[in-house]
Symmetry: C2
Subunit: 221 residues, 2 copies
Amino acid sequence: MFVTPLHEYYSFMNATITFAVCDDHTLFRKTLIATLLNFKQLSLLTEAQNGKELIFKISTNPPHIIIVDIRMPGMDGYETITYLKQHFPDTKIIALSGYDNEYAINMVLEKGADTFISKNDEPEDMYLAITDVYEKGFHINKWVREAKRKLKHLPKLTLKENEIFQFLCRDLTYGQIAEQLNISIKTVDRHRDEIFRKFNVNSRTSLIIFSLNNGLTGSAL
Amino acid sequence: MFVTPLHEYYSFMNATITFAVCDDHTLFRKTLIATLLNFKQLSLLTEAQNGKELIFKISTNPPHIIIVDIRMPGMDGYETITYLKQHFPDTKIIALSGYDNEYAINMVLEKGADTFISKNDEPEDMYLAITDVYEKGFHINKWVREAKRKLKHLPKLTLKENEIFQFLCRDLTYGQIAEQLNISIKTVDRHRDEIFRKFNVNSRTSLIIFSLNNGLTGSAL
DNA sequence: TATAAAATGGGGTAAAATCCCCATTTGTGT
DNA sequence: ACACAAATGGGGATTTTACCCCATTTTATA
């Protein structure tokens, strides 16, 4: 009688997991990679400074896992993850950020990240996320659990509100925003009112502070 | 005739350099430390998440070198460096930040940092800064050179302007700022006018964006 | 197709911000 | 005593923001 050898059932246990790291901070990226490579199971395929560079480098040979920072100049994490999920549905994505609040985490999960790791986590947490996502296809940690729990209480911006929110975080008057979007100032004002209500702020100043401190815009303004 | 052995002249070459790392992002801090410890000459004395924790930990036994991140919750890099220079004048300080612009770099150098390393630099750059600062007492790199070159062209805020600038970056009306400082709204407005001129902005919105993007406030607002 | 949610925008008001003008006082250094 | 920067603040104007009211049209979706 023929018995399938154990190592075929559990082949992933000894398999090499290939990964890529996308983060603009070289010092962080290189030290993270060096640490991860101490785990013999892991193999670095690519590193990149932003989304554009990453997509170009992995196009012909995507890795199993991609670690993507949210805040990057040029193409930020939100855009990058959206693109990756559409063009490389089999590649697992670990979103990484120093902004570990429910807003940012929910946003990346919505864009298609398979899990989230904070820059406040331990290196072992990152390793666990990698192996977990590779072996099981998902990884639930405190961040993901908390974000999902709070999801129903979180304000949800409509499409137009989100568009105007981005403009509100830049240096434009309502008149200029209205001009850009070819709508009335009154409409901009009406949406602004709703955005203020949802984020519980009462001045543009505090909206911008809130946005920048919570990583709601992946790139600098 | 007695000849002093070379190793006494160059004793620092084999000496152990003790260092501390102060950065709130655990993942970055630990991977950086792991990388630095690969340089056998270096020895970790302490790690901390913010200025307060650092000062407490090194009080009885300061290291040769302290690497301090600018942006930290609680006691930020600016405050920490100011304190360290006053209480541990012999300890060399390497300021570290993701904000590698002339404003932030000049600010930390003014507070007393002995050199500056960007999170966009290579790990080797950090190693070079450490050995340089230890052996020569200073370290000139492209950041420090550029910052000094641009120094004369940079706007310089007066004491009061700087105080009001901090308030402008928070969620307060001019009336509230005036109340806090026990001065007239008109005075606040007058200083604001000068601050706008110096930083070349024309709205509070762009002032806040400018400040947050350039790391001019070491802690979140 | 009924219904709800989203997007549009007009009217009006009060507060806040922006930008000038100007003068006086206070402090620092020569 | 003099010069000069820094800090103070009044007067006055326009623009922008903030916050209500209201109604219509468009879009999604059950």
